[in-house]
Amino acid sequence: MIPVAHPASVPTRSAAVPAIEVRALCKSFGTNEVLKGIDFHVDHGEVVCVIGPSGSGKSTLLRCVNRLEEPTSGTVMVEGVDITDSETDLDGVRTRIGMVFQQFNLFPHLSVLKNLTLAQQRAKKRKKAEAVEVARRNLAKVGLAEKADAFPAQLSGGQQQRVAIARALSMDPDMMLFDEPTSALDPELVGDVLEVMKQLAREGMTMMVVTHEMGFAREVGDRVVFMDGGVVVEQGKPEDVLGNPQNERTKLFLSKVL
């Protein structure tokens, strides 16, 4: 009998395994120990907001999830697949993890439409017509259908970030990572971006959101994780962590930002 090869590199979507599961994750930059044994998970369909002071390692944790940073030790499982395993098809896994950066990182030399179709064609091997259709659908979703032919420099920060979200969505990801998506925006532009994210959450998207928007965390988050000094200090329902924090460091942090 021919054994059926188990394609270890293809994540399986099942309720039994969390979308993201991080165990005993440590990360050092040189002698600077940034993550000191993080245990963390995000279930399918869950919206987890990560909060904490600047420099506490939130971005590093997020970037370890799709291995933009190489973990020093510990495991990172995405849909049951160990992404630190050298046998894993990292590019394949990454197409299932949408990522949105603080600085948008749109490709400035490409039109908005090309920004959205490039990776669909190169990484997902979609035909151009299909890629364009998917791109236009996602542009419409973030309210920027008429900007398809514009270049990033012609858009406001808020529009650029919504294009970046549409770009990530065009890969049909199973989950989305957000790293302070509104921190680089003028205050009056924050609302549009948060609205798009809220809509995603309502549709059941799995989301890990590093944010300083406590209103968003309270309203949209299923769980809030407070990090400080490279460890998870406290986590739970938003109303508990934000409304009735138990840890002194959480209290101190919230007293400064609320």
Partner: protein, 261 residues
């Protein structure tokens, strides 16, 4: 004395010195000889049309070949220099340092004479071909450093965005990094091109067949056969006709880039 008066006085003196120097040169020059040996119309007419149809044409062709060749080889070397594979980095570094450190004239001479003798090897295209290979190699060393700097000037977030979308390293390089890098380095690359136009004049050392001569070789031969310097002046004017638009372009691109930031 008031400061403004003093400044005007200083400027007046500077102008006077300049005018005196110009007058001295104009008066002391032997205009008849200069006209006869540098601006001789009969000699000038005599070098046409070959100085354009052969010499200037060859200069442009050699420049194009050396630039395209140097660009391709330079791109390869830049990628090797940025490669995680250590021997590639060593090789690229050695190549770049070697050919930036040697006089181009010596390299051309080596390829035209030393290598054929040592290895019993003839370059395609004879001595002109050998000289061109040398020019490609020399320009690749400079262009490689320019391209490497351009690649490193592309913000890190660009590569991260592309990789996070699942694009592999080579596709990211081709579709995201290189297009932006080349936009950044267009002014210095155009500069390399202008330098290369002038460096084709060094090919004379290779000793070229009649039909292969470029502007400098051609006008040097004409200088000898006519015992008159006018061919050099014609060649100089033709060089300027080729290079001036390009140097203007560089200046324009640099202004444009500055405004873009």
């Amino acid at each position: 004395m008031k400061r403004s008066t003093r400044r005007r006085l200083t400027q007046g003196v500077l102008y006077a010195v300049f005018a005196a120097a110009v007058a001295f040169v104009l008066l002391s020059a032997d205009w008849a000889t200069i006209r006869a040996y540098f601006f001789n119309l009969d000699v000038a007419v005599g070098v046409f049309p070959e100085i354009v149809t052969i010499a200037a044409k060859n200069t442009v062709i050699y420049t194009a070949i050396a630039f395209v060749g140097g660009l391709l080889l330079g791109l390869l070397l830049a990628l090797m220099k940025l490669s995680p594979v250590l021997p590639y980095r060593w090789f690229a570094t050695a190549w770049i340092e070697l050919f930036r450190g040697l006089p181009a004239l010596l390299v051309i001479f080596g390829f035209a004479y030393a290598i054929p003798i040592a290895f019993q090897w003839r370059a395609p295209g004879g001595n002109a071909g050998a000289g061109l290979i040398a020019l490609i190699i020399v320009s690749s060393a400079y262009i490689a450093e320019t391209i490497r700097a351009g690649i490193e000037a592309v913000p890190k977030g660009q590569v991260e965005a592309a990789r996070s979308l699942g694009m592999n390293g080579p596709w990211t390089m081709v579709t995201v990094t290189l297009p932006q890098a080349f936009r950044i380095i267009t002014p210095p690359l155009t500069n390399e091109l202008v330098i290369l136009i002038k460096d084709t004049s060094l090919l004379f050392i290779a000793g070229m067949a009649i039909g292969d001569r470029e502007l400098t070789t051609f006008s040097r031969d004409a200088l000898t056969s006519t015992a008159n310097a006018t061919p050099l002046v014609v060649a100089a004017l033709l060089y300027l006709i080729i290079t001036l638009p390009l140097t203007q372009l560089v200046a324009k691109l640099e202004r444009h880039n500055k405004r873009g930031r």
